[in-house]
């Protein structure tokens, strides 16, 4: 097959070329490695010097704080069940924030994805616009939107929900549009040929194809959003994160509360992780929706 070109190459030539190639590759590889290591080291040193405590001094004390919390929690272990009951409503609120935000974000993300996929878009010219919108939705940290909204709407779960929903719409929109790109356009053309309008085409032609993937991604996002909604509580958006912050920043004397809340939150995250992991496995490997 390639014997023609082989004839023009003597072995020595090939050998020299390969050796030369290896040399440059080793050199670039070496340089890259050095550059990378230098970046890491320099970065670490900068961070270390701009930090209050240095890494060398601090690493033995890593467990000081958890130890303090655990010690108090163990001492007041009898209070824990009562705390679980007390903080359960807050947990429900956190999960609700995550669920409602995931739901809203998924719907918006679906729409954005459909509007920004070639071959499906309602207004093909506006694809870049919708893409940029998704980029921006994704880029703004939830905490920023939440803080701004708290200013307008007052504290509580709604700003957090909106903030998470916006971010979710951006993140899922991007993933969804990638899923869409792998969907077949043939059914769409088939539907178009019978005179179906855009929403009919999308609902009947695209969604059945991409549904399982969508659900799988949305579940994953739900896991992430539970964590996010707990964190937003930290800045005053209600829910269990808010209680956790209050307990943690009170410090000594309420560490048992902190421990109880933490356990509650952690268990929830693990449970949702597991359930959604199983569901997603079934969706991607099994067939039906």
């Amino acid at each position: 097959m390639t014997d023609l070109s082989a004839a023009s190459h003597t072995v020595t030539q090939i050998r020299d070329e390969y050796v030369a190639m290896t040399r440059t590759r080793r050199m670039y590889g070496g340089l890259l490695l050095i550059l990378f290591v230098a970046l890491m080291v320099a970065g670490f040193r900068t961070a270390d010097s701009r930090n209050a405590g240095s890494f060398a001094d601090g690493w033995q004390r890593i467990f000081d704080y958890p130890a303090e919390v655990v010690a108090e929690a163990v001492e007041k272990a009898a209070n824990l069940p009562a705390h679980f009951v007390t903080f359960f409503p807050a947990l429900v609120e956190t999960v609700n924030i995550a669920a409602a935000a995931t739901l809203a974000g998924t719907l918006a993300g679906t729409l954005l994805a459909l509007l920004s996929t070639r071959g499906m878009a309602r207004w093909p010219r506006a694809i870049p616009v919708f893409r940029r919108i998704m980029d921006i939705f994704r880029a703004v940290p939830e905490i920023v939107i939440a803080l701004v909204l708290i200013f307008v709407l007052g504290g509580g779960p709604v700003p957090a929900m909106i903030a998470i929903a916006i971010h979710t719409a951006g993140a899922l929109g991007k993933l969804f549009s990638e899923v869409n790109e792998n969907a077949s356009l043939k059914p769409l053309e088939g539907l178009q040929s019978v005179g179906a309008n855009w929403s009919q085409r999308m609902y009947l032609g695209v969604i059945p194809q991409v549904g399982p993937n969508y659900v799988s991604y949305a579940l994953l996002r739900f896991e992430i959003n539970i964590r996010a909604s707990a964190i937003l509580g930290f800045v005053g958006a209600g829910g269990i994160g808010y209680e956790l912050r209050n307990a943690m920043s009170w410090g000594q004397g309420r560490y048992d509360e902190a421990a109880a809340i933490f356990l509650l939150l952690f268990i929830t995250i693990v449970v949702v992780d597991q359930i959604s992991g199983q569901l997603r496995d079934r969706l991607t490997h099994g067939a039906a929706l």
Partner: protein
């Protein structure tokens, strides 16, 4: 005598992080001159950041709130010692927790607050939570639990949030801090209300004062106990004389008009510690 190779100052929240860093930069420069080592400033968003730093030995000096000092002391009495406190222009070193409501709500005192929504600020704040949570029950004769006297008691998250929440009607009344000097309609001479007024967030005409605490001691400037005695002495000295050395710098560090930093010790805060203990589980 052991040596230090750098000195780290923690600054508490309440102001724009950059402003805080900037206002305290002159202090850092003086300290560096006096101590002969580099000085770094840290301004974490949370009270807790500085407290953890003090406890962990990564922050050497900080100006804490009274409640935050109590918390630090309760976590580890050997961690820090209070050295100085800010004296106001009137010669006192106290400030007040002020309860306020919207004028158009018709609320003029705690008596009108029965069954209404009450807002604390940050649970770590002395004036925003600790003191009112002790003194208000004494005034109302009931606990601060939701539904007992007040219809609901919430945390808004901070002084600024409380003011906005009251102004918006999210809560019927709230507490925040003020120096208690000057006039109500200006939002007093300094304090959270004054800042909100200056920022155009609220109009003091819309608000009324419904309660005022006994004077609360200003938070102390603390030094880490483990620091070499010489370092502690030099820093205490520097700060105590700051108002004479550099008026502008003093203004920045003290976050407004004040008389001077003067010595104080742990006893002044026993009462706060007691208050805090009574609030712990």
């Amino acid at each position: 005598q052991e040596q230090i190779d750098e000195f780290r100052i923690g600054i508490l929240g309440g102001e724009n992080a950059q402003d805080r860093m900037n206002n305290n930069q002159c202090l850092a420069d003086y300290a560096s001159e006096v101590l002969g080592v580099p000085v770094k400033l840290f301004a974490p968003a949370d009270y807790n950041g500085v407290i953890q730093g003090l406890l962990g030995g990564t922050i050497d000096l900080a100006w804490l709130g009274a409640s935050a000092y109590a918390k630090t002391w309760m976590s580890d009495p050997e961690a820090v010692e209070p050295v100085l406190v800010k004296y106001n222009t009137d010669g006192g070193y106290g400030y007040h927790s002020v309860g306020f409501a919207r004028k158009d709500s018709g609320i003029t005192s705690l008596d009108d607050m029965q069954g209404k929504v009450f807002g604390f600020g940050d649970p770590n704040s002395t004036s925003g939570y600790l003191i009112p949570s002790i003194e208000i029950p004494q005034a109302t004769g009931a606990t601060m639990d939701s539904g007992d006297y007040f219809g609901e008691v919430k945390f808004t998250g901070g002084h600024e949030q409380t003011i906005v929440a009251v102004n918006n009607g999210d809560v019927d009344a709230g507490v925040t801090w003020a120096d208690g000097l000057g006039n109500w309609e200006d939002g007093y001479n300094s304090g959270a209300l004054r800042k909100a007024v200056d920022a155009g967030l609220v109009d003091m005409n819309d608000l009324v004062e419904i309660w005022k605490s006994k004077p609360i001691p200003e938070g102390p400037i603390v030094l880490r106990k483990e620091l070499p005695a010489e370092v502690k002495a030099k820093m205490t000295d520097l700060m105590a004389n700051l108002h004479e050395m550099d008026q502008d710098c003093f203004y920045g560090v003290a976050a407004g008009e004040a008389m001077a930093f003067k010595p104080i010790d742990h006893e002044a805060y026993e009462i706060i510690i007691e208050a805090r203990k009574s609030k712990s589980n």
